[in-house]
Symmetry: C2
Subunit: 194 residues, 2 copies
């Protein structure tokens, strides 16, 4: 998606350790007009699928999923929570996800009330790198018996293996921007065009 | 706001300890059509203010703020983060907030890049009870030198003192639904009408 690639090139910052900072428009400060365009593009990419619910994970996926849902006939959005809250009933699907960004493992939970075998799920998240978070969400969806219609990602780090693994396992994955390589010393970002 | 009150009455569940569960439509599964109507109403309530940015806090405030921003000319939305992430630069505003729901204290941070003295801020969050989270966000905004134009809340627990404290301190606070009392044994919820 050209609009997103141009924005990453303009406002993204490459840091040592393959870190891409996009917190001026994507995951701390958020450009809602851009999210609208991303939502329209996700609808176009998954227009052949019947989506009844969108699943994302806190925190950065939530706004993208919520704005995108407007283009999917306002289907409900469920966000997976990153730790047990006393406000949630005990009846949850859960899995453990390793976060390389935060250097730790955490529990991810979704109430069993909000995923059922009748649901057709589109997973939306902001980043795909090693794929741990998406694999965790897919595990939860499989446990619920719902159908995984696809995974929509804003930015995929194509030089890490999450996207490759998901595609090889048959997941209907679309990323709005795929980064093939990036260089912290020059700031140069190369995008993959399919 | 009648639409929200009706939804709380229909789908909210009152639990012992003054807990109101609205996770079927507000803070776990989210009804984006409802959020659109809430966004329109927030715009109406704050139409006399010039808003340049919306500030919220992860995780449940994010979707409400993002959808509402569409009715404020797509102003940027910034969400305060609940713990230090290695992906954030060191240069942040921070404060400590006590969460009664989770029974602990946590650090809340906003990058200094995204709040400045030129900003006119509307704070949006899902719940207002004792007011700790909103007070923390206000502290951060004051530290940045930005102007606080108002605070918009989905559900205020009017029987706790957060709303009273904020109004007495001169904050331009609007809550879309204010609960005066609720009863876990009968499930009855009484709303305040101003």
């Amino acid at each position: 998606m050209e609009l997103l690639e141009n924005r990453i090139a303009k406002d993204g910052t490459v840091k040592e350790g393959n870190v891409l900072k996009v917190d001026s428009f994507l995951n701390h400060q958020m450009d809602i007009g851009l999210f609208n365009e991303m939502g329209k593009e996700l609808k176009r990419l998954f227009s052949d699928r019947k989506i009844t619910k969108i699943l994302t994970i806190e925190a950065s996926g939530i706004a993208i999923a919520a704005v995108a849902a407007q283009y999917f006939d306002n289907v409900p959005v469920v966000f997976a929570k990153k730790s047990q809250s006393i406000n949630l009933d005990g009846s949850v699907y859960s899995t453990k996800i390793r976060s390389f960004t935060h250097g730790r493992e955490y529990d991810v939970i979704v109430s069993k009330k909000y995923l059922s075998p009748e649901d057709h799920i589109l997973v939306i998240d902001d980043f795909l790198a090693n794929g741990c978070a998406i694999e965790g969400l897919i595990e939860i969806i499989k446990e619920s018996g719902a159908t995984i219609e696809g995974v929509g990602i804003a930015i995929e780090k194509g030089f890490q293996d999450g996207g490759k693994k998901l595609r090889e396992s048959g997941v209907n994955l679309h990323s709005l921007a795929i980064i093939d390589s990036m260089d912290a010393s020059t700031g140069k970002i190369n995008f993959r065009h399919l």
